[in-house]
């Protein structure tokens, strides 16, 4: 067998000595989502930002525009709050899940 990483897997409180697989090694560690952060739901290029830091925003208000596959996608706020920090600027290429803004 090829060189493999030895790991312990726990099922029903029993510990099994075993070896890892390439797909298992890629499993990301789960983190509790922090709801102050607003992440990109699609990848693309930021073409416009509709708010500035310190703005009070409400649910449904335009946040920014992401261009993806030649479409300008209007992204709206999903909840109300005050824009604490804007983490991107027009021209930035963002990936899915990348944080765009912090609300407080």
């Amino acid at each position: 067998m090829e060189e493999q990483k030895k790991i312990i897997i726990k099922v029903d409180e029993s510990e099994y000595t075993t070896y890892s697989t390439p797909a298992y090694d890629r499993i990301p560690k789960w983190e509790h989502p922090d709801d102050r952060y607003i992440a990109a739901i699609i990848p693309g290029t930021i073409v416009g930002i509709s708010v500035k830091e310190g703005d009070a925003v409400s649910d449904g208000e335009p946040m920014l525009v992401i261009e993806a596959m030649k479409m300008n996608n209007q992204i709206k706020f999903g909840r109300s709050g005050i824009v604490d920090k804007i983490l991107v600027k027009p021209g930035d290429i963002v990936s899915k899940g990348q944080n765009l803004m912090i609300l407080k």
Binding site: M1, Q4, I7, I9, K10, V11, D12, E13, S14, E15, Y16, T17, T18, Y19, S20, T21, P22, A23, Y24, R26, I27, P28, W30, P43, G44, A68, M69, I93, S95
Partner: protein, 514 residues
Amino acid sequence: MNKNEKVDALLHKRRDVMLGGGEKAIQKQKESGKLTARERIDLLLDKGSFNEYDLFVQHDARDFGMAEKVLNGDGVIIGTGTIDGKPVCVFAQDFTVVGGSLGYMHAKKITKIQDVAMKMRVPCIGINDSGGARIQEGVSSLAGYGEIFYRNTQASGVIPQISVILGPCAGGAVYSPALTDYVFVVDKVSKMFITGPEVIKTVLGEEISQEDLGGARVHSEITGNAHFFAHNEEECFLQIRKLLSFIPHNNKSGAGKLQSEKPEVNIDINSVVPIDPTIPYDVRQVIKAVTDKSDFIEVMEKFAQNIVVGFGRIDGKTVGFIANQPFYLAGVLDVNSSDKAARFIRYCDAFNIPIVTLVDLPGYLPGVDQEHAGVIRHGAKVLYAYSEATVPKITVILRKAYGGGYIAMSSRHLNADFVYAWPTAEIAVMGPQGAANIIFRKEIMEAENPEDMRKQKVEEYKERFANPYVAAAKGYVDSVIEPAETRGMLIHALLLCENKEEVKSDRKHGIPPF
């Protein structure tokens, strides 16, 4: 022209067309580490058995200056030949002709050979090496793909369909291989993706090489899109020939019976499996200890290695093995191993290949990732596939068979035909640690020394329940057998199952979890 001249003209014409994209393009193909389409066909088939059709087909595209362009064979070679004397259909895309791009006549040639394969009930092998759709032909080339996909689907479960990826296979082109039964890839040659690195770079700004995005290793180890991995093209064609020696060539023929041969004697089946259920071992040793000549061809060897699936022969007859692999991830069922097992079970069922299941698993893999990836939906595929399968189903429980894992792995309750257990089997609702902690929670908590009490209770539970006899007492296990008796029991069970018949319901089809 007299008759001889006409024959000469044919030979001349043939020679010209058979050069494909010409000597320069062939040179380039070789420099990129690839064989030509014709060399590939020669390596795949029995020597001299290839008969080509549609050599003189021409495209009829008119736009973008295509009318003046002559594309030899329209970039694909189709024909029939034999493998080990048995007929097969084959097509091979010729990258030297405009990058093997798929125009409508190119697709027509492929669908023609697919139709022959289907009508004659022989396997269809497609060698893919193409830059994708021929853009100049527009929607016609999309029509071509669609007609190929339709035939892939119609032929599914009727004839074996094999895809060999020997070059780029990108965009819509990837869906034909994905619809076929087996995808073969070669290290550093195969490249498969929906959107290539260029698009990813423009849209996401992420730089990734073709190899890292969709190379042979990625598809063999991570995505599960490929079923066989080879280091070079020669090895790949040997793998295809070997696979076709094991599987039936259509859903009615059966794989045929060879001379029964003993397993290699150097595997001692009694000593393969450690008694302690937490210690790993390689379950393929058990498979090799019961198969003729210990010859076993593993499918998806590098993907979800916590389950082993593949073909071997017992008493000269092909069977499909599904075995938990304690060596990797303790042999658990998870999203990937469930998908892998379920598809293989359905393959065996479609082609009337008896299924032998070897059980040794602690259950399902715990974790947020698994739950969020839909392990419920994926795990259900295994239950569905086993329950649905009407081929002979023989189960051997080697060691642990706990909880939902026990039920899923071709248990009596899912209508297995014969269930055997080794004396080392532990058939229980869960592992002894977990079970004792729940059942004896109060005693453990109230004990003067809880740790000692826990240990004592775990031992008690092990003694009473971690064995095959509780299940045997209920008739869920037909026989508790010595490991050394396994091959004999399997031979007998398979013999008994030879005329197995199950009444199928008259529904159109079920709706399995996807």
